[in-house]
Symmetry: C2
Subunit: 246 residues, 2 copies
């Protein structure tokens, strides 16, 4: 039987520790090809590049799998992978492991999850992995059994058409995880602040900062699961229709 073909991407860039860890981990399940942005693209949402041309380059191989970096966004990278790089449609797309949470409303800003939606739109079972820890030096090995279990499940069972998984891990300093929980997206938001500075020409400019505000403390939310030591798994789709209000 042919080994599964696994497309690995992210939004932190092809050389982030998280994507190396994810590619190394899923290599057990099939043939891995990494196609990811050349530099960090956090906060790019579902951006695509239409005003400038796209390029991709193969990185000197490390022996285990091919790595390509692109000059595009995560979504561009998935499109390039499918149409110009991969030998065939992949059996699964995995994105991450993102250095930082994509739980709750973070998903809407997330390039990691945009790549996942892009995969799902192309009919590829797709899963995003993120850890609620911005430290690139965090030891991710605690996440490994969960990644194996989820990838194994998706390769064997598939996912319903249009449905993807948004998987978030609690920070590694939280000790052993208690297990996985199927959740809904918590209805939180970011409260922005703008730090005003002046440039050498005395013109104002602003750095955007934000703090996460969550009043949705229900037990079925991803935020609750993460806060309580569980790996959160949210089945997600890209249909924005608010059916209840039609």
């Amino acid at each position: 039987m042919e080994r599964p073909l696994i497309l690995v991407t992210n939004d932190d860039g092809f050389d982030a520790p998280g994507i190396r860890f994810l590619a190394d981990t899923v290599a057990k399940h099939g043939d891995v090809i990494v196609v990811a942005p050349g530099e960090a693209m956090s906060g790019m949402g579902h951006a695509i590049t239409i005003k400038t041309p796209l390029r991709f380059h193969q990185i000197h191989p490390n022996g285990n799998y091919e790595i390509y970096r692109t000059n595009g966004t995560p979504v561009d990278s998935v499109k390039l992978a499918m149409h110009k790089i991969l030998p065939r449609k992949p059996d699964i797309l995995v994105s991450g492991v993102n250095h930082g949470s994509n739980a709750s409303v973070n998903i809407i800003y997330s390039g990691t999850m945009a790549a996942v939606f892009e995969g799902a739109m192309a009919g590829i079972p797709s899963v995003g992995f993120s850890i609620t820890d911005y430290d690139h030096a965090a030891d991710l090995k605690i996440t490994k059994p969960f990644i194996h279990e989820i990838v194994n499940f998706v390769l064997n069972q598939g996912l319903p058409n249009g449905i993807s998984l948004n998987v978030n891990f609690p920070a590694t300093d939280k000790g052993d995880y208690k297990g996985m929980k199927i959740c809904r997206q918590a209805l939180a938001y970011w409260k922005e602040e703008f730090e005003e500075r002046y440039d050498p020409h005395n013109q104002p400019y602003f750095w955007m900062r934000g703090s996460f505000v969550n009043h949705d403390e229900e037990l079925d939310t991803d935020e609750w699961a993460l806060k309580n030591g569980y790996v959160s798994v949210v089945p997600v789709q890209f249909d924005f229709t608010a059916f209840r209000f039609m």
Copy 2:
């Protein structure tokens, strides 16, 4: 009674005909302030700017309302407007009129609709307007009565918390519109092609193109409504949870 405060934004840039038309139209309903990207930001999705500082500048006033251009994305522009430009929380946010469809799956790539979701997340009733016509010279006056009706409705009745409207108009050459239809988002997708070229150094580069593919021909979809001469109105939300698959 205080006049409503109306925030107008878009993703085609502050000087696109569509936003001028929208601002002029909604000025009948309240005090308008335009805050929009300095250049076209189509395809930016929900991108935010975190690696470079943000700036905004007031454009020489035209007498009717204030116009600010930002160096950010549509979402950045909404955040700057709310925290640094507007005197108070606006009563409504309107985005557009976008030159090009944001029906069906286009919504996920859309900066116009990202601005709308950003408004909704901040608790502002928000509506996106788009026309399925990329011609910037298209005469938009046929859309005017529908914009008045919707803005009037939203200012008087509000919208449920977290719910926004994605309004799309058929192209103007379709003659008189038959009316408005409340729809769901059609489950279509874009099929990409990459046009390969070679630069003067003989290195390949790729231009992304796409064609829209829709197999979802049900009568309750936005694509059906638009094809049949109706203005499509889809109530949308930013909760990606696929509740049916939990």
